[in-house]
């Protein structure tokens, strides 16, 4: 890889990293696992003046049980998340979706925080963040703030993070008993991004769907909640298959799917409907 020239710093604490960011301003870029940033550097699509490598900031790694939610350090790798007993027990959708990210090499280097802060709508984890209403803990030299997932993703590769801020951790609410989960990913090769992905969480009770959360990958410049589906499916009886299909047929409402080499928008809309149906069935435990 032959990137443009840049300065490189590797702080060993969060405070040191934040100071560097404050000093460098918009010219600095945080390097997490590098799985998204390095390709941009390679293609000379990004020209940061300084790379702030937070790979040695230990306090950004790890998964902790915090009672009503779990806290995942932003620099926790995909591999560590997939294999974390806490994540698997309390937030299985995170583990399910993370296990589909790229390939083992990428999962060993790539991080949850890096993936979310990169805000690629074709990434798998932003949609999961929306489905689960994750909260983003953000620090700058001036202090800490918490941004709900619904307010975090502003546009294609654009987030609510200010220059000088680092995403330090992600709070994932525990949904409690009765929920089923599924991440339905459609891609052409195992390493390719999702053409469309559907993250679904469904709470069942006495044969009906009490509540559902559905979020879509790569159906617009940001991950989106399929609210029309969520409303349509509430109270649906699980035996009545046609209800789920009808609900899923509204998955592409209010979406703005992109056109690229792998799919045109009308095909993405069609996929969103088909895959949402499959995701609902799987999350409801009926397949």
């Amino acid at each position: 890889m032959i990137p443009a020239s840049f300065d490189y710093v590797r702080p060993s604490s969060l405070d040191e990293a934040l100071e560097t960011l404050r000093d460098q301003g918009e010219d600095a870029k945080v390097l997490a696992g590098g799985q998204s940033l390095l390709p941009l550097l390679r293609l000379r699509l990004a020209y940061p003046g300084t790379l702030v490598d937070v790979g040695r900031v230990k306090e950004l790694r790890g998964v902790a049980d915090r009672g009503d939610h779990i806290l995942i350090g932003a620099m926790t790798t995909h591999y560590d998340i997939v294999t974390s007993p806490i994540v698997r027990e309390h937030c299985p959708l995170v583990a399910l979706a993370t296990a589909t990210v790229a390939d083992p090499a990428v999962r060993h280097r790539g991080t949850l925080g890096g993936s979310l802060a990169h805000a690629d709508p074709a990434g798998d984890l932003p949609a999961v963040a929306r489905a689960l209403d994750m909260e983003f803990v953000v620090r700058s030299a001036d202090g800490e703030r918490v941004i709900p997932a619904a307010d975090f993703f502003l546009d294609y590769l654009e987030t609510a993070l200010d220059p000088g801020e680092i995403l330090t951790g992600i709070r994932v609410p525990k949904l409690g008993p009765g929920w089923g989960f599924h991440y339905e990913k459609f891609h052409r090769t195992a390493q390719a991004w999702a053409i469309v992905g559907v993250a679904a969480a469904v709470r069942r009770s006495n044969g009906t769907i009490e509540e559902a959360r559905v979020a879509l990958t790569n159906m617009g410049p940001t991950p989106v909640r399929a609210t029309a589906v969520e409303e349509a499916v509430r109270g649906a009886e699980l035996g009545a298959g046609g209800v789920l299909r009808a609900a899923a047929s509204r998955a592409d409402e209010d979406t703005h799917p992109p056109a690229d080499l792998h799919a045109r928008p009308d095909y993405r809309r069609h996929l969103a409907r088909v895959l949402t149906h499959r995701a609902l069935l799987a999350a409801a435990g009926t397949t």
Binding site: A190, H262, V274
Partner: protein, 809 residues
């Protein structure tokens, strides 16, 4: 499912027993030897071109045209020259007087348009990525950085990206002489009669999409000079051809130019080329007197490694009502891209003789028009011409079967050349020396569980299952082992097809083999060692193979076209025979016997009927000492041989593919894949297995994944591996492989070549399976690559057509 698993296990067991029998008789040929070169290759502890470091080495970066077609009106390199670390900056004008034209060695017709092809554009660019200037700097990064400081003014000209449009009146011209490079025709038999009398006629158009060969090792070049002579290291398949061509192109005398292909990480035809970068690195080092290196990035490679395929095939077949094929007509447009490179125009000719496949017929008619477009030139890519031909004939035979309501296997049986009919001269005039299509097909059907899968297919159709099952058949053959020099000459190719080998027994009895083949992943060091071990009776470990350096391997035609074993391996055998005869003279002399009374078995010369013997190692030492040799005997135990084959070789086989097509999403999943190949006798079953696996993967990749996509302005959109999709192991099925062995009769090893077979066979097997799955929906074709979106759109269109037809009735 269980049945397939069992079948797979059975096939693997057969492999192991092969291996054991090979080892059991003490022979090396036939043994599944692990490759002796692999340890250094897979650990990277070897000399790849990019690993080469030299004192004072400078680095080259190329500025490439961002426009598909434009006039260059100004190039200003003055600012770039002042950038940090920059040693020199050159534009095309700087080399205009000495860079010559990149060679095309295969002008297929006398009236072919053969445009001037400057390594660096001087006045006009004709594809995106064409080099227009270069920076030479003290490191790679500084060289790349300084490219931004070069100013180039372009006057845009219209791009021509579509072959059909390129041939229309008034189309923008890629070259002054027009967009038609050549028309090449070939006809046998009375084609009009065949079509006139036929009960059935089917016409189809197939598109062979552009492919980007994606060798694991990117291209790299290191050029150096001592002021008088030059050495060029290149990641190339063809060090010998390259030396001749570079000598002719640059004016460096051939004896002052050494070309080295060190270990090379794959080529697939893409390194069968004389590239602009090779020529320019030599010119730069000549100009500066300093060593230079260039290594391409992957995106640079996607743009400027020659592309493959790019053909538009119009094919028609005529048949009797009982399915007997009468004749085949082919009208081909072959995309040349912007220039004719080393064998660009010849690629479709390598397919011209293969459109009759394994079938008998009365007549054949072939027309090929080479078309210029403003895209990267095409050239050889694994199979080169033969995958295209095989695809078209195997696809249309399936269409014929569907039209006649006949099982595609049964239709093939009615038409193929029977085992008893070999040698058989086909309608195209090729003489297939040997083959057994019945045996390979019967074996494949058994391993596949054909009848059971057909039953499941019927069941899914009956139930209107959203996931439909399809079965694809490909009974391929190919012509390889390139090639008889006389035949190449008759096709206007610029060189011969022989191969050379030298074998020398060292004083201690160890053996060095010098081969003119140039391996880049094939395992020649192992296979040649096995051949020599048997021929001279020395241990496998005692053989070393030297290749790829024109100063140590002075003569060769290099590696492509599944030729290395079939031509180069035979040369090794012949050189060994000469060595053995020399050793026999010495042995007879030392044992005071007549050479006619000396038997040779497993490295030992024995006087017939006695206990007196000498090992070849003893003979080697005696020859080295030279104290007691026959009168007039030259004290050397070495020999060379050059083998020019009389005929091509014709591997064949039957590949069967079962796919599940999700009619809701358009996704295709390969459920099972059976390949029974007949590549003649086998030197190393492991190497054959590896070639078959890789070949099938590459063919599946064309069917499902790969496509070089350009926009209307001629910009390549697939410049990264995120856009140009290569399948990995995770995307490919387990293969069930087996072999039948019908030895070639045209060479002493009985071998046929295996480098391209899998790629040639698998593409039509997969597409036939997809179309078979969807045929009840009214689908007759899915263009490649059969992406989920394409399948979905084809289905959608077929349903719409069906509905409107229903409405009309």
């Amino acid at each position: 499912m269980t049945e397939q698993l069992d079948a797979g296990v059975a096939a693997r067991q057969i492999k192991e027993s092969d291996v054991l029998s090979g080892a059991g008789d003490g022979r090396e040929v036939g043994r599944a030897r692990r490759r002796k070169e692999d340890a250094r290759l897979v650990t990277g502890r070897t000399q790849w071109t990019d690993n080469i470091q030299l004192p004072g080495l400078l680095h080259v970066a190329f500025l490439r045209s961002p426009m598909a077609h434009a006039r260059i009106t100004r190039v200003d390199t003055s600012v770039a020259r002042t950038q940090p670390g920059v040693v020199a900056v050159f534009s095309g004008q700087d080399f205009a007087a000495e860079q010559g034209s990149l060679p095309c060695a295969w002008p297929v017709t006398e009236d072919i348009v053969l445009p001037d092809h400057p390594p660096m554009a001087v006045t006009e660019v004709r594809y995106v990525g064409e080099a227009v200037a270069c920076v030479v700097a003290t490191d790679r990064y500084k060289a790349a950085d300084a490219l931004d400081a070069i100013e180039v003014d372009y006057e845009p000209l219209d791009a021509v990206t579509d072959m059909t449009a390129a041939l229309e009146e008034g189309s923008p011209k890629v070259h002054e002489a027009g967009n038609k490079a050549f028309t090449w025709k070939f006809a046998q038999g009375d084609i009009d009669a065949a079509f006139r009398d036929a009960a059935v006629r089917i016409d189809r158009t197939y598109v062979q999409q552009r492919l980007i060969p994606s060798a694991m090792e990117p291209r790299a070049v290191v050029a150096q000079t001592d002021g008088d002579s030059f050495t060029l290291h290149s990641s190339t398949q063809i060090p010998h051809i390259l030396r001749v061509m570079l000598a002719l192109t640059t004016g460096i005398p051939e004896h002052k130019l050494r070309v080295v292909a060190p270990d090379v990480g794959g080529g697939f035809g893409s390194k069968l080329q004389v590239t602009a970068e090779e020529v320019l690195c030599l010119l730069i080092t000549r100009r500066l007197g300093k060593p230079v290196k260039w290594t391409e990035s992957r995106s640079e490679g996607n743009l400027t490694v020659h592309h493959g395929r790019d053909q538009l095939q119009r094919i028609s077949v005529a048949a009797d009502a009982d399915g007997r094929i009468r004749g085949v007509k082919v009208d081909l447009l072959a995309g040349m891209g912007a220039y004719l490179m080393l064998v660009t125009p010849g690629v479709p000719l390598l397919g011209a003789f293969m459109y009759s496949g394994i079938y008998k017929m009365d007549a054949y008619d072939f027309t090929c028009t080479g078309v210029f477009t403003t895209k990267m030139p095409t050239d050889a890519y694994r199979g080169a011409g033969r995958p295209e031909a095989t695809f078209a004939i195997e696809r249309i035979v399936d269409e014929l079967a569907a039209e006649l309501g006949m099982d595609p296997i049964e239709l093939r049986r009615r038409n193929w050349i029977q085992h008893a009919e070999f040698p058989y001269t086909t309608v195209c005039g090729l003489t297939y020396d040997s083959g057994n299509y019945e045996a390979a097909t019967d074996r494949a059907l058994a391993l596949f569980g054909y009848d059971k899968l057909r039953a499941e297919q019927a069941d899914r159709r009956e139930r209107d299952d959203p996931v439909q099952l399809g079965i694809g058949v490909s009974t391929y053959t190919e012509m390889c082992g390139l090639a008889p020099s006389r035949v190449l000459g008759s096709l206007s190719y610029g060189a011969g097809g022989w191969e050379h080998a030298g074998v020398r027994v060292l004083p201690t009895g160890k053996v060095e083999v010098v081969t003119g083949t140039s391996p880049h992943g094939q395992g020649h060091e192992t296979a040649w060692s096995q051949i020599v071990a048997d021929a001279l009776g020395v241990p496998f470990e005692d053989v070393a193979v030297i290749h790829g350096d024109t100063s140590s391997s002075h003569k060769g035609m290099d590696t492509y076209g599944s030729r290395s074993l079939v031509v180069g391996g035979v040369a090794v055998v012949q050189a060994c025979e000469k060595v053995k005869e020399k050793a026999r003279q010495v042995a007879a002399h030392l044992m005071e016997a007549s050479p006619d009374d000396i038997e040779f078995t497993r490295g030992e010369f024995r006087v017939r009927g006695t206990g007196t013997s000498r090992t070849i190692q003893e003979i080697a030492l005696a020859t080295f000492a030279a104290h007691d040799l026959p009168d007039g005997f030259e004290p050397r135990l070495d020999a060379e041989a050059t083998f020019d084959p009389d005929n091509f070789s014709f591997p064949h086989g039957t590949h069967l593919c079962a796919v599940e097509v999700d009619t809701e999403t358009g996704a295709t999943k390969i459920r099972s894949y059976v390949a029974v190949d007949d590549v003649g006798s086998v030197v190393n079953p492991l190497i054959v297995e590896g070639q078959v696996h890789g070949g099938i993967a590459q063919g599946i990749a064309q069917a499902l994944f790969e496509e070089a996509v350009h926009d209307a302005d001629g910009n390549l959109l697939t410049t990264t591996m995120a856009d140009y999709l290569l399948p990995s192991a995770a995307d490919l099925p387990d293969y069930t492989t087996d072999r039948t062995e019908t030895p070639a009769t045209t060479n002493p090893l009985g071998v046929k070549g295996v480098g391209e077979a899998g790629t040639i066979a698998s593409t039509p097997a997969v597409v036939n399976a997809i179309v078979d799955a969807l045929r009840p929906h009214g689908v007759h074709d899915v263009p490649m690559p059969c992406t989920p979106e394409r399948v979905w759109r084809v289905l959608d269109q077929a349903r719409t057509t069906a509905q409107s037809t229903d409405g009309g009735l």
